[in-house]
């Protein structure tokens, strides 16, 4: 193991190297490009024993990766924003064909207006594709999740693709120390890929041929079951990774100062790291506040989040995207998760950070103050709050 100073983009490139990925196809898009740029250098310099295919679009990139993975080869691509939307058809296809591809998606806002800055709308719009979604909040996690993503996705009880969602620029282009395992060190954690199925000339069959209503339903239920299995085994996989790497792992969610907290703030990605500082500030002011960092978004960690939040007096959910006409996606899930609880705390949803608007720990401290004031005054807040709007 060695420690390198890497951007999160290069951390996931190293993640693909450590995972002994054998096939990469990709199309460049800011701010993803440096991920596959580094992989092309690894492959051309023979540091990495893999095929690199250049293609004419993101749709073709994931289609090529689908072809390679279908032959039983561990494959990788990465994209962002409009690139994800362009490959959308294949995103669904990969999950329904049960191909455990790992794909980092650098979260970037959608046009118009044209923007390259962080926003979660791109991956949230692909929430229901069947991909496992993990939102990372620092460079080390970005690296770790490539290795854990292959281990989780390739598990026979899962056999599902994994999307690693990482914030544009705040992660993709920001340098930080990252501990890297060599492929040899990784082998004990990540065995060679043994596919659930693969194309085989000795036993020819068709993939995805037409199916009537008599059979389609069952395939969808099996995908749901695969997600439930992924939720059950992910924490164990994280613990195993911790043993191999010596790096502390939290599993599906990370709780920070939640035990005795009266109110809890939830967030995805880098905003969760910023909230950690806000929690310390609020604690210094005597406010009993905690943080729940939601790392795994699909399958949604219902049990863990319910246990962390029930009996609290206030829940603040920050969303970096909005389901127009309703609420932020994380808020929707948190409310749904809390519904079976006897003691449901009020949940206030703050829509923040859209299109890369900065969200600092000071901002988060003020969001909490606004939320607490509303709840203390007995106000029932049912709508999301666009707290950073210029009014």
């Amino acid at each position: 193991m060695e420690t390198l100073i890497l951007t999160a983009n290069h951390a996931v490139s190293y993640g693909a190297w450590s995972s002994r990925v054998k096939f990469v196809a990709a199309y460049p898009i800011t701010p993803q490009t440096t991920i596959v740029e580094m992989l092309s250098e690894f492959i051309s310099s023979k540091k990495m024993d893999a095929e690199f295919m250049t293609v004419e679009s993101e749709h073709s990139a994931l289609a090529a990766v689908t072809g390679a993975e279908s032959t039983g080869v561990r494959s990788f691509t990465a994209t962002s924003s409009h690139g994800l939307l362009y490959m959308s058809e294949m995103v669904h296809w990969v999950a329904r064909a049960r191909l455990p591809i790992v794909m980092p998606v650098v979260n970037r806002a959608l046009a118009p207006p044209w923007s390259i800055w962080v926003d979660h709308t791109d991956t949230m719009s692909h929430r229901d594709t069947g991909w496992i979604q993990i939102y990372v909040s620092n460079n080390q996690e970005a690296y770790d999740m490539v290795l854990q993503g292959y281990r989780l996705g390739e598990d026979r009880k899962v056999s599902m693709p994994v999307m690693i969602c990482m914030d544009a620029f705040l992660l993709s282009h920001t340098f930080a120390p990252v501990k890297i395992l060599t492929p040899e060190e990784t082998d004990s954690f990540l065995p060679p890929y043994k596919p659930l199925w693969k194309l085989d000339p000795e036993n020819p069959f068709s993939v995805g041929g037409i199916t009537t209503a008599e059979h389609y339903y069952e395939f969808s239920e099996m995908m749901d079951q695969a997600h439930r299995n992924a939720g059950e085994i992910f924490d164990e996989i994280s613990r195993e990774y911790e043993k191999v790497s010596g790096l502390l792992q939290t599993g599906k969610i990370e709780k920070y100062r939640v035990e005795d907290a009266e109110s809890v703030i939830l967030a995805l990605g880098t905003m969760a790291e910023e909230t950690r500082v806000a929690v310390d500030r609020l604690r210094a002011e005597g406010e009993k506040v905690g943080l729940v960092k939601v790392k795994m978004f699909r399958p949604f960690p219902n049990k863990e989040i319910r246990e962390a939040l029930e009996n609290k007096s206030l829940v603040v959910v920050m969303d970096r995207s909005v389901s127009y006409g309703h609420e932020g996606p994380l808020s929707i899930e948190v409310k749904s998760t809390l519904y079976p609880s006897e003691n449901r705390p009020p949940v206030l949803n703050f829509i923040v950070g859209l299109g890369g608007r900065d969200v600092t720990f000071k901002d988060i401290v003020s969001f909490h103050k606004i939320a607490k004031k509303k709840v203390t005054e007995g106000k029932k807040v049912t709508e999301p709050i666009f707290v950073q709007l210029k009014v």
């Binding site: 039983g72 329904r96 064909a97 049960r98 026979r156 056999s159 043994k194 596919p195 659930l196 199925w197 693969k198 036993n203 020819p204 069959f205 068709s206 993939v207 995805g208 041929g209 037409i210 199916t211 059979h215 069952e218 395939f219 239920e221 099996m222």
Partner: protein, 103 residues
């Protein structure tokens, strides 16, 4: 690798019997008698057919059959009437006529 049992797809009774992904063995007639889809019917003139087999090679549904004399005939049970054979025949031995089922 788990053995993919795709042969018995049509008789699946429980989700436990399903293949792990939507996999299937190609089988004659799995999609129904596709001959009923035809708008045009290709008709081979055996006097002109040279037995070059170009139509046989091009047919996407294997609906061109080889006769004992080396010439070809169309299997109208499966031929969808795509007319690729009509377009490819180098000696124009294949004509197209409007299909009238139940002749």
């Amino acid at each position: 690798m788990r053995k993919v049992e795709v042969d018995k797809e049509m008789g699946l009774k429980s989700v436990k019997e399903y293949p792990p992904a939507p996999l299937s063995k190609p089988a004659e007639g799995a999609g129904g008698k596709t001959g009923l889809w035809r708008t045009y019917r290709p008709v081979v003139d055996l006097n002109k057919c040279t037995g070059c087999r170009i139509c046989w090679a091009y047919c996407p549904d294997r609906a061109i059959k080889l006769r004992d004399d080396g010439k070809v005939e169309v299997d109208y049970v499966w031929c969808k009437g795509c007319l690729i054979c009509f377009h490819e025949c180098p000696v124009k031995a294949i004509d197209k006529v409007v299909e009238e089922f139940g002749e």
